[in-house]
Each structure stands twice: as C-alpha cells, then as structure tokens.
C-alpha cells in the first residue's frame, strides 16, 4: 500500500471513529462501523478478517475446512453430530457476528475454568462440549482433524484480537431481569407471530431437499437438555439480539423472555449426564434458569426426552 493511500485510510478511520464517538444515533454508528470494516480494527468493535484474506496455502485450506464444518456441521451427522443443527445456527454469520457468541471473542478466552465441569477447559475441550450438548452427538477426538480445522478457523477469525482482554460483542448481550415472570402462554403468542414462519408451528424447523434450512428448536433434532441454549436466560439473550433473522432487537425484552421460556418448555434430547432419574439430574446439573424437570402443560420435562443416537459410541 502506498504511503498516501495509507494516510487517506488512516484519516478516514479517524474520522469514522470520531463519528462513532460523537454519534448518538444507532444508525449512524452502524453505518460508520460498516465503513470501518475495510480499515484496521478500531477500539470500538473487533472485525474479523474477511474471507478474501484467507491465504492461499495449506494454512488457508485448513481455515476454509474449519469454516465449512462450522457452517455445514451436518456433514458430520451420524459421526459426531446427533441432531439437525449447525454451529452457525447459534453463532450467526459463520461465528463472525458480535453479540452472537462470535468465535473471535471465544478464542482469546481459552483455556478457561468452567463451572459446568469444574475444571480448566482447553478450546478443544470446549468444542467437544458443543458436540456433546448443542449438537447432541459425540465429541470428536481432541487431536483429530475436526477439532484441528475448527481451531484453525477460530484462530484466524481472532487475528489481532487481544488475548484475555474484555471484548465488546462477546457471547450474547445479557438482558435485564424480566419485568414479568417469563410466561409459556405469552411466549406461545410471540412464537406464532414471529418464529413459526421459519421454525414451523411445531418448532421442528423447515427442511428443503431433506436438509434443515431453519433449525429445529425442540424435538429429537434439536439441542439437548445439557446445552447452554436450553437455559431460558441464554436463549432470551440470543433471541433478543439475533431473532428473527434480519430483524435483530425487534422483539421487546419481555417478548424475548417469554418466547425463550416457551421454546425451552418442550421435550428435547436427554441430558447426556442423565443416569435414569430426572429429579437427581435436575438437582445435580440444573441449578440455573431452566425448565428441566419442571411440570409444564401437564408433563414433567425430561421424562420423555429423546435418546442420543450416538450414545453407543
């Protein structure tokens, strides 16, 4: 890049950064952020590198393999995946999008201690957890090709991200406590009005040519009772920031709470830590905001959960 061009871009970045700072308008800030995507990452929001920047070599090939696995995780169905979900269903825009649990933010925060399994987890172990719970499958070997490709992709997305530092846009933005207790009946109304178009009246998703275009939200092909998304607070946060697709932040926080409670009050695959007793599993592993083991609509959730199709592995 020539010096003059570099100077122009730097000036533009400065002006845009200033615009972000002085602007109180969300739209103006978004616009500036868009413009800034071609310039070095500013302090305000991290931008992962663009697809065009993937190098044309063995490393780049592995990045692309990881991206492909992330977007079309169904290629591992029956091997490591036991349901109808792809990583990118809950990590929108291929794990790139801020406030949609982006992988660039996750990468720089591992290894980390997790209360879920009371130990320090490497990124490989964390990914294995996703396969076990969110994908209702079996963990790929930590030293195998799947984990290697996914880790390479995450590492590449996080290029230039500060290791261990707080990053804006990590995870899903926490909502304030629900003004009214999240309600199944109200949630059902929200679901019918804003979710069923894509996810179907029965929440089982929409398939085209035998493959899910819109993911199932409950039932045998969805995430299991051990996945993070089965928590009402996690689902509410994800929904509010990301759903419906193309209309983020369009539901009220109360609507997000209600519809999250509704979605997560349906049967889904069993918690893999279940040893034959719902009450015991609930007491040991579900001390959080979830409906597992609760009686909803006359049934105790967890009693008729679906088995893991890869449990024999």
């Amino acid at each position: 890049m020539s010096d003059s061009r570099h100077a122009r871009i730097t000036n533009a970045a400065t002006i845009l950064a200033a615009l972000v700072l002085i602007s109180t308008s969300v739209n103006a800030a978004e616009h500036a952020a868009t413009q800034a995507s071609t310039t070095p990452a500013s302090n305000s929001a991290f931008h992962p590198p663009s697809e065009q920047e993937i190098p044309n070599n063995a490393f780049g090939k592995m990045v692309k393999r990881g991206e492909d696995l992330f977007v079309n995780t169904q290629q591992l169905r029956g091997k490591y995946v036991g349901n109808g979900l792809n990583c990118a269903n809950c990590h929108i825009d291929r794990g790139r999008l801020a406030n949609s649990a982006p992988m660039w933010a996750a990468w720089v925060h591992y290894p980390a201690y997790r209360g879920k399994n009371h130990m320090v987890n490497t990124m490989a172990e964390r990914i294995q957890g996703c396969f076990r719970y969110s994908e209702n499958g079996a963990p790929p070997p930590a030293n195998g090709d799947v984990i290697k490709a996914l880790e390479t992709y995450f590492y590449w997305l996080a290029k230039g991200a500060p290791v261990g530092a707080k990053m804006k846009g990590r995870g899903y933005p926490k909502l304030s406590k629900a003004a009214e207790k999240p309600d199944f009946a109200r949630g059902k109304q929200v679901f019918k009005a804003h979710c069923a178009i894509c996810h179907g009246d029965n929440g089982h998703g929409t398939k085209q040519h035998g493959k899910y275009v819109f993911p199932p939200l409950w039932g045998k092909d969805s995430y299991n009772w051990g996945a993070g998304m089965h928590r009402v607070n996690t689902a509410a946060a994800f929904i509010h920031a990301n759903m419906p697709l193309g209309k983020p932040n369009s539901l009220s926080e109360q609507q997000a709470w209600d519809v999250a409670a509704y979605v997560n009050s349906h049967e889904r695959p069993q918690d893999p830590r279940f040893k034959g007793n719902v009450a015991q599993t609930k007491a040991k592993y579900h001390k959080h905001d979830c409906r597992y083991g609760n009686r909803v609509d006359g049934v105790t959730l967890g009693r008729k959960s679906y088995p893991n199709p890869l449990a024999h592995r």
């Binding site: 868009t34 790139r96 009005a193 085209q208 493959k211 275009v213 697709l245 209309k247 983020p248 369009s250």
Partner: protein, 218 residues
C-alpha cells in the same frame, strides 16, 4: 363486449372446464387458455413453460412453491400485493382455481434464465447471496431462501434463475413500501438496508444460479 361474444367465451369456458368435477378450470387449462371468466391465459405473459419474460419483467413461475404462488394470487386479489395487471386476473380466479394453477406451475421445471447469462455476475452479488452483509445486519439470501436460493418452505420463494430485473423491481418495491405482503415484514427489513448497488448485484447473481439441481446430483 357484445352478448354473443360473451356467450361464446362462456361456452368456451364450459367446454374447457368440462373435465373437472366442480366446474372450475384445471391449472393446466388456466395456464394455457385462461378460465373464461376474466383470467387471461397465464402463459401469454409468463410463457408456456412458466419461464416468464425477462424483457417485459414478467417473472418465472415454474418451480415456485404452490403455497407461495397461492398466497401471491390471494394477495393480488385482495390488494395486499399491489399490481394493476394481476389484480383483475387473480380476482377472476376461484379459490380452487388458484390452488390448481399454483400447483400446475409449482411442478414445472425451467432453465430459461440460465441461458440469459450475458456476463459474469459481480463478486459483490455472490458475497451478498452466499454470505450477506452482516455489518449492515443483512443476512445471506440463502439463509432464508434455501441452499442455492432454490426456495425454502412455503414462505420463501426460489430466487435462483429468476430474472434479475424482476428481483430488482421487487426489492426496490419493498424498500419503498410499495410491496408489503411479506410475512412479519422480514423482506422489508432486509430490503431497507440494501443499497441500490447491492440490489442490482444480488439480482444479477441470483439470475445466474441454476433454478433446480441437475437430476443426477444428490
């Protein structure tokens, strides 16, 4: 129109309608000859094979889902979708005829737009269709319209192989508010964030995509 010609049309309609039990014209008949009660033959504008007419801006109908076509015809009839040409046609069709003509077109296959490839589609279009522009909260077209933009469920029509001019007109219509019959305002929300340049590029790329999978592919 004189009474005698009305009578002739009416008898023609009755003859055409003979094979159906309820007296409604079949989808194939409506497509080829109209229903004799005010609905002109669909094929005169949308082509005998449902491949449309790029120059005139008439969309390809072949292979679009029945549910989508049914909704559009009802929306034209009730004015929820604004179109001076289609409204009287749709109004003239009975509910059964709408179902039947929509079923007919949903089963046709067409490759027409593939032949109209004139130049390589722009990279920007490919980017939008396959990856979106998430800095502007624009999902990839294929996230709702299905892999290869060949449609998904009953609400998201196939866009692959559709005429670029038609897609462009519709996106601009959503953007301006002239078209508003999308469920939950989903298309409008996205169209509003698309620049005209992005609309043109996405439309060109969508037109270049094959409208259906080759029969030998999985």
């Amino acid at each position: 129109m004189g009474n005698s010609s009305k009578l002739r049309l009416l008898s023609l309609a009755i003859i055409l309608a003979l094979p159906t039990a309820a007296g409604a014209a079949t989808g194939k008949t409506i497509a080829a000859s109209g229903n004799g009660r005010g609905a002109a033959p669909c094929s005169s504008c949308h082509g005998a094979d449902g491949s449309g007419n790029a120059a005139a801006g008439y969309p390809r109908l072949a292979g679009l889902s029945q549910a989508y076509l049914v909704k559009q015809l009802h929306d034209f009839a009730d004015g929820r979708r604004n179109n001076a040409v289609m409204q009287p046609m749709a109004k003239a069709l009975s509910k059964q005829e709408i179902n039947s003509v929509a079923s007919y077109y949903s089963k046709l296959k067409s490759n027409s737009a593939d032949k109209s490839k004139e130049q390589a589609p722009p990279a920007l279009g490919k980017q939008l269709v396959l990856r979106g522009d998430w800095d502007k909260k624009i999902p990839a077209c294929v996230q709702c319209h299905g892999p290869g933009a060949r449609g998904a469920g009953s609400h998201f029509p196939a866009l692959a192989g559709q005429y670029a001019g038609y897609i462009e007109t519709q996106l601009e219509a959503w953007k301006s508010g002239q078209r508003s019959n999308d469920p939950d305002g989903l298309m409008k929300a996205v169209a509003e964030r698309l620049s005209s340049k992005q609309i043109k590029a996405a439309a060109a790329y969508l037109q270049s995509l094959p409208s259906h999978l080759p029969s030998h592919s999985k």
